[in-house]
Amino acid sequence: MSYVSIRDLKVSFDGVQVLHGINLDVAKGEALGLVGESGCGKSVTWLAALGLLPGKATVSGSVTVEGQQLIGTARTAVEGVRGGKVAMIFQDPSSSLNPVRTVGRQICESLRLHRGMDQRAGRIEAVRLLDMVGIPDARKRVDLYPHEFSGGQCQRVMIAMALAGAPDLLIADEPTTALDATIQAQILDLLAMLRRETGMAMVFISHDLGAVGAICDRVHVMYAGRIVESGAIGPMFDAPRHPYTRGLFDAIPRLDGARNRLIPIHGTVPDPSHMPPGCAFAPRCAKAQAFCHSDAPALMPQPDDRQLACFYPVSSNATGVAADERLPA
């Protein structure tokens, strides 16, 4: 049985729907990737699940954690899940820490809340956690304020704070986007190492396919508030079948081999308030037929265990798509 189960999750802001019925499951201990362009609803999915969206958002559907429903229940029930069962770290670590409290106090808050530790025990544990996430000289730095740490170190502190609640699932919402490339790699290594050691499950939200490939077992590709393709990392990365997934891979520069021109995905993500009537990707898709512009494909299970929402997918044995074929007609 899955640990977290999301069914038909829909979100709208001021009447504009941005999430169109998301279904996904996270099993205990697995690492799930959520990939897509900015604004496709990756973060919104998990912010909505944990009730962290601002008041103007309308959320419907079902989110259960160990069978406990989170949508439409009392605030205290959701507060009981946050931090202790499901923890979350965010894109911008420097502004995600409270500037007027020491990092030690911020970590201790979680320790007191979820592990019932008092001030003394909490402080010792906070130092241990900071040490574990690779903050040098943790014993001294536990009493410093967030502005005295670099961006990468702030993300390490955020991770320590998330670990303080001993969660079963960590949602990492673009944890490396705001960081330098070398720091990104360190944070990714840290997350992979922590997952091995603690056995917690992880949802890794990113638009960096390389990072997702390095960390995750399964991946969901999202486009304009819907999941368009999902499956195990291996087959998905070897042979992406949705034209959008294919496009994401073609847009990655290669370090090896001949230097080829990158193939961008033309056009932009549709405006949520003016969604095309059919497949949301049709206006940017080279393979789209008249049918794609009027009917939206549902996410259907495929013979190779993946799920796909496309009427005219890229054939599974194709090794690549010629550039001219990918330009919209």
């Binding site: 507060e79 009981g80 931090g83 923890a87 409270n98 500037p99 809340l113 304020y145 955020m158 704070m161």
Partner: protein
């Protein structure tokens, strides 16, 4: 850090000195105390005697140097009207003004901040709209209009409260109410926007994601951050309280330093006006120093900046 405070202190003294100099020059250029105090029909020789007695015939710079010299010796001069020391006249009036301004400040803080915070946490609700409307009402109505309306309603029409004087605590109610309204409006507006700004910050989402109760998120994470801009405006308000007292004490015939200031200015009682301005300027400067100090306590980033100075 020490350096920072010494600089601040130096600046504070400089501010007071500038205020004193300005007052000194303007008062002497804007009218002759002799003809005002003795009346327009006074004989020429008594005016000349008066001018000689108070050294008004000396060049301005000479008068100014003499003034500075006596200030340095903590001699604040003598009232031209009744010859008593100016500082005594002023200090005698301070308790009456404090009796209005201290309760006013407490009411402004106690009503304005909670109202603004409540409105921010219940955005777009009826309560929020009510707070916005009342606060605009509060800070746009001039205190002399407010005071007269209150007198009309509670003293003249209803007869519940006295309209002026200082005989009992009931006499303080209308002046305090008049002075409080504007500050409550400003504070409510400011606290609301400060709180809305803070509640939208990523660290509030982090605090919620941690599993903290809503109460803890507001009290431990949002309010300490929102307090920095609120303290700034409170600092300004302490200064403007005295300006407010000038108007309100006149309306309600309250014998505080505000009324003393008006009487002394119109009489050109130079030593008393200068002494009053010195007290008022010092209050404002001290309020600003307190705000600077509070910043350091509230926000560690500002503490770091202060240390770097």
């Amino acid at each position: 850090m020490l350096n920072y405070f010494v600089t601040r202190l130096f600046r504070a003294v400089l501010t007071i000195l500038l205020v004193m100099t300005f007052a000194f020059v303007v008062l002497r250029l804007s009218g002759d105390p002799a003809s005002i105090l003795l009346g327009p029909d006074a004989p020429t020789d008594s005016i000349a005697a008066f001018r000689a007695r108070w050294g008004l015939d000396d060049p301005l710079w000479k008068q100014y140097l003499a003034y500075l010299k006596s200030i340095a010796q903590l001699d604040f001069g003598v009232s031209m009207r009744d010859r008593s020391p100016a500082i005594d006249l002023v200090l005698e009036r301070v308790p009456a003004t404090l009796a209005l301004t201290v309760p006013t400040l407490l009411i402004q803080l106690g009503v304005g901040i909670p109202a603004g915070v409540y409105a921010a946490l219940h955005r777009e609700s009826v309560a929020d709209r009510g707070v916005i409307m009342l606060s605009i009402f509060g800070f746009t109505i001039p205190s002399f209009v407010m005071g007269l309306v209150l007198v009309l309603v509670f003293a003249v029409t209803l007869g519940w409260l006295p309209s002026g004087g200082q005989d009992s605590w009931q006499h303080a109610i209308l002046p305090i109410a008049t002075m409080s309204v504007g500050g409550i409006g400003i504070l409510a507006r400011f606290s609301r926007s400060a709180m809305i700004e803070v509640m939208g910050q990523p660290y509030i989402r982090t605090a919620m994601a941690k599993g903290l109760s809503w109460r803890d998120v507001v009290w431990k994470h949002a309010l300490p951050n929102a307090s920095v801009p609120i303290v700034t405006i409170v600092g300004f308000m302490v200064g403007s309280l005295i300006a407010g007292a000038v108007v309100v004490e006149s309306i309600f015939s309250w014998p505080g330093i505000g009324r003393l200031l008006i009487v002394s200015v119109s009489n050109r009682d130079l030593a008393v006006v200068q002494c009053l301005l010195l007290v008022i300027a010092s209050t404002m400067v001290i309020a600003n120093l307190c705000v600077d100090f509070a910043y350091g306590l509230l926000d560690p980033r500002l503490r770091a900046n202060a240390a770097a100075h």
